[in-house]
């Protein structure tokens, strides 16, 4: 059997799943909260695609305007709706919040998708191995998930950034290291239950190789829980990224367009306590941007879970 036939087998199985998911989508749209969540997520994705183009300049770095109309605005942020150039106002350092939000959408979504999808891929592969092969290797993989599930993620990321240096790759790798074990557990559980089914037994009896069995029967059967987990993890990864950037564990300069970094501009430079009093917009707007996106992801993920769990549908 060639890899090509495995690939087409996989795509055919997946296609069948996607066709049957039309019914699931109907149930999803009946839940108003999940629909709103999906709409907001799509809006943010569009923002991430066209945002940096709307804002202009370097797509991941905000432009600093130390002086505007002859006034120094580094420590005197402009409120929202005052100038057309700064629709959402500016923050400490003379950065436009509008620009930061637009560019941050792409930066955050990019970083989070790399982390979540790599984690899901690694977790799925290891989970299928652990469930299907079992034995000493499977046991070792499951003990590995135990170890990585008992590491507090922010602490591990900070430790990695301190030891290996402040680099983008270090941050991404340390977060992938945290986010794979859940998928391994999900996939392994699915494998263990699907493996006992009669149709899998039949396909094995008909001479199906283990790779083919995994790709044709096991992954399509566990694809929904993986989708749900991805949609829920995405929000958590965004929150963790924002926390790390807010606390200053960054790999980039002060103008890096990340939502947590944008928020930290307002409260850094020893102005923490006074920030909410003297320029509340610089604190509230980036926070709300993060909150709305993560909430939308959670609403969508929760709706998806309800739809895909037939016990809850009734």
């Amino acid at each position: 059997m060639t890899t090509e036939s495995v690939g087409s087998e996989f795509s055919r199985a997946l296609k069948k799943r996607l066709e049957s998911s039309k019914r699931s989508f109907y149930f999803l749209t009946r839940s108003p909260l999940a629909t709103i969540g999906l709409a907001i997520v799509i809006f943010y994705v569009i923002l991430a695609i066209i945002g940096p183009r709307l804002a202009g300049g370097n797509p991941s770095v905000m432009t600093a305007y130390p002086i505007y109309h002859g006034q120094p605005i580094i420590f005197n942020p402009i409120p929202p709706f005052e100038y057309a150039k700064f629709p959402l106002g500016t923050t400490i350092g003379g950065y436009s919040i509008y620009e930061g939000v637009l560019k941050g959408a792409r930066v955050d979504l990019e970083l989070a998708s790399i982390i979540v999808f790599s984690g899901a891929l690694i977790g799925t592969v290891l989970g299928s191995i652990a469930g299907y092969k079992g034995g000493a290797l499977g046991e070792a993989i499951m003990r590995g998930t135990d170890i990585f599930l008992s590491l507090p993620y922010i602490v591990l990321a900070v430790a990695f950034l301190t030891v290996f240096g402040r680099y983008e790759s270090v941050m991404i790798e340390s977060l992938i290291l945290i986010w794979w074990p859940t998928y391994t557990r999900i996939v392994r559980g699915q494998v263990l239950s699907v493996r006992e089914q009669k149709y899998v037994e039949a396909s094995v009896a008909a001479g199906s190789s283990s790779l083919r069995t995994v790709i044709k029967h096991i992954i399509p059967n566990s694809i929904y829980p993986i989708f749900v987990q991805i949609s829920l993890d995405f929000g958590n990864v965004i929150l963790t990224l924002a926390s790390l950037f807010y606390l200053g564990f960054t790999f980039a300069g002060p103008g890096f367009a990340e939502w947590g970094n944008l928020l930290s501009r307002a409260t850094s430079a020893g102005t923490g306590g006074a920030a909410l009093e003297s320029y509340p917009w610089a604190v509230t707007i980036p926070g709300l941007v993060i909150l709305i996106f993560v909430l939308a992801l959670n609403l969508f993920g929760d709706g998806l879970r309800d739809v895909l769990d037939p016990r809850m549908r009734r």
């Binding site: 003990r143 170890i147 507090p152 922010i154 900070v158 926070g287 909150l291 959670n298």
Partner: protein, 363 residues
Amino acid sequence: MKLYVYIIRRVLLLIPVIIGVTLITFYLSHLNIGLLVTEYEGKIHTYAQRVIVMKELHLNGPVWAQYLYYLGALFTGKWGFVSPGDIDPGVPVFTEFLKRFPPTAELALLATLLILVMGLPLGVLSAVRKDRATDHATRLGAMAAVSIPSFWLGLLVLNFMLAPTVSFLPHWLVLYGNGQLNWSVYGYWHGKIAPFVSPTGGLSQPTGFLLIDTLVYGDFPAFFNALWYVFWPSLVVALTTFGVIIRFMRSSMLENLGQDYVRTARSKGVPEQFVIKKHARRNALGSSTTVMGLIFASLLSGVVVTEIVFSRPGMGTWLYQAAYNNDMVSVMATTFVFTVVIVAANLIVDIMYSYLDPRVRLE
């Protein structure tokens, strides 16, 4: 299986986890040992001195021998010294850990308590009123709370509840000082008398836990001050983590409410109140405790962030300062401690669950 057999088996299963975790911290420390040796408190100037230091730190042997020395030192409390660049330079890391641990433990324990107190009743309520306004409001509220960045919520709470200048609260409620133990000084704040704890503490702390120490000294204003300063951060941590337990309690309740024994109880004419409280809730509570173990890692991450935002003198702030000052020894110590706490919490939760629901032990 008897309970103690189960506990022993569960503890034995922890050994690979502990070895794995220490291997990770050992690997991370090992990467930096060269740096440590070259900078060894400015003691190394010649090759001969370097040889002596290498021998002192057991760096000449093979890696596995170094790992064994590392484990030995780890479990006997020889955790090295705080680096020169950091706060409290030269202090043994273990001493620093003993000083930093109680504030974090207070925060985490109170947050756990708040999660249980808020989450479990809300989950029950949500299940009982399934698909009605209360259910939707509870679930949406819980989800919104979980979606809030914890540092942002911390910032808002800090500014509106704890900072004296912009608080909504009457200012006699907003106490000054970050809950350090001292004799209470009643000072003036905004022209009115407020209980006041001086940040330059002078008394020795018997346990290190401020909430206990203040009671030991019978200093009630300081106790309430300490409680006030631990309540708000723990509320932030609890709000940003308790969504999972609401969701779990709800589905667990729904599952139990659909069981035959509940129908039997209802058909016998047992009042609905008792059906929910005595029949369904009791069964749902057992399985919901397991979630505490699952969310403990995210709870501690929240604790770290919240501590930094609120400048509480605990483990999280220590990690933050150490990472800023490139103090690898302290960073590794905090990583190790947090991991051990999570592992221990999982163990406790499992044992509690097997006590509450003996069926688990049959597997």
